[in-house]
């Protein structure tokens, strides 16, 4: 074993749902500290389920899930990760600031410390001045940035993101991709990112996990050797296109042509 201990370590992880559907089979994956790992694959490949297994929001049927050297369950109890969903999932009875401070309240931070932290986090996601706004006064992209600020507010070592920009338009998505990378660099956290956009996966990640469906398994791991920091020019480099092609072929190679796409990844 070389290098630091992995933040996430999956060994032989399988997931079968009670009604017999097999979502994941024999997943082995290590995510090292500071990595930005994207899970990509067609609908039904279990990428969202895999993210939930890491977050202990659903149980693995077989295999071991280790997060920060302990069980996924213990890691959840210890607040080792922050999570961002496709929808911002903001509580509309709370102001933007109080949404960001929700996990801090649960952790028992005192008021002045929370206030300071919320200010810093809103600065980080470039939403200064919106603290006392209501979530519904913000655009979708802004809401998602609040959600990211909330997930990072308590400094978790791991950030789990489930298609966070999937519901946004292309321009907003690209801008938020850039912001996310800046945040990732500043916070030095490890990110596991679920997406179904190939360019997004290649642009953001240090490594892309290509998954294939029915049952969900890892088809290929693609190291993304694009230089850091990534800029808007990264998307125009020849190497970027090569990697996009490589991921696309990995996806196509394992997917049966014209296979029906079923929304099985949710439960």
């Amino acid at each position: 074993m070389t290098g630091p201990a992995p933040v996430v370590s999956l060994k032989g992880v399988s997931k079968r749902f009670t009604r017999g559907l097999t979502a994941l089979v024999d997943i082995d994956l290590d995510v090292r500290p500071g990595e930005f790992v994207s899970l990509i694959g067609p609908s039904g490949c279990g990428k969202s389920t895999l993210l939930r297994v890491i977050g202990d929001l659903t149980d693995a049927t077989e295999g071991t899930v280790v997060v920060n050297g302990k069980s996924a369950h213990q890691a959840r109890l210890d607040h080792d990760y922050g999570i961002v969903f496709q929808d911002a999932v903001l509580y509309d009875w709370r102001t933007v600031g109080r949404n960001v401070s929700l996990p801090l309240e649960m952790l028992g931070w005192d008021r002045s410390r929370r206030k300071e932290r919320v200010k810093d986090m809103l600065e980080l996601v470039e939403l200064e001045g919106f603290e006392s706004h209501r979530p519904w006064q913000l655009s979708g992209g802004m809401q998602q940035r609040v959600s990211i600020a909330r997930a990072l507010s308590f400094n978790p070592s791991l950030l789990l993101m489930d298609e966070p920009f999937g519901a946004l338009d292309e321009m907003t998505r690209e801008r938020l991709n850039g912001q996310l990378l800046e945040i990732w660099e500043q916070s030095k956290s490890t990110v596991v990112f679920v997406t179904h956009s190939i360019p997004e996966a290649v642009y953001l990640s240090t490594r892309v996990v290509v998954m294939s469906p029915r049952p969900g398994r890892i088809a290929e791991l693609v190291d993304i050797d694009l230089p850091q920091p990534r800029t808007f020019q990264t998307r125009e480099e020849p190497r970027f296109f090569e990697l996009v092609t490589q991921v696309r072929e990995a996806l196509a190679g394992r997917t049966g042509a014209g296979a029906p796409v079923a929304p099985e990844e949710r439960f």
Binding site: G55, L57, R76, L77, D78, H79, Y81, G82, I83, F85, D87, V89, Y91, D92, W93, R94, L102, P103, E105, M106, E128, G129, F130, H133, R134, W136, Q137, L138, S139, M142
Partner: protein
Amino acid sequence: MVSAAEATTRLERVRSVRADERVMRLLLVPVVIAALWGGWELYKWTWETTGWTWPFTVDDTTMPHIHDIFAAFGRPVQTGGPPLIVSLLKAAWFTAKEALAGFALGAVVGFFLAVGLAHSRLLERGLLPYVVASQTVPILAIAPMVVVGLGSKGVQGWQSVAVIAAYLTFFPVAVNELRGLKAVDPRSLELMRSYAAGRNAILWRLRVPASLPYLFTALKISATASVIGAIIGETPASIQDGLGGAIVNFNQYYSLEPTFLWATNVICACLGVAFFLAVSVTERIVLRRAPENVA
């Protein structure tokens, strides 16, 4: 990119549209009242001049003039006594006290019943049928039992009436709040799970705030029901000081003074509306949700 200031302006525009609406609504009030008044008098005039007797004979006893009903407020009930409006307002104050106590008691019982039922499927299955059954028992049947039963324990009459009013109010609160507590977005629950939140944290930080729109809908129903419950509860309790007592009293003299009973009904309706409005205003202060027409 929307700045904080722009978002605020957008909100203000929505608010100014709503202000225009409010003016329109205010103008509508006299129009509706005039229409109701006109409709009543037109019906009365038509039936009286044609002599129609279907569905009932119309005269000054069955349908007094509206202006006579309002004039009755100024007339004394007994010669030399205070005008009707004074005794009715006193009675309304008395009934309002009963209704308010009943409303509060019913709301608290209903709320915690819902919390209990929401946390245990077994409790919900076992208890909910009886909660429903409780509402099929006519209040007139249980009112004397409550008054006599509690009276033997030294509970004052008006407090017994409050319990009867609570009997009517707890039910909508329990049923609606139960639904509200369970109608939580699954993603919001997952978020709470990711914070390793316990039952209490999920209840008070997520389920209860998310259920408030349901709760206020129930409270609006309960507000008027508590007034009805108090009025009805006074009757078997033989309480003379409230609106229920006034109704029983003026019922006996209806053929002589029909306007007194009608005037009492007007006050009863006003009390119910006042309760409803109080809940509505509270709702508006507590719930600062998205205005429906915000983009």
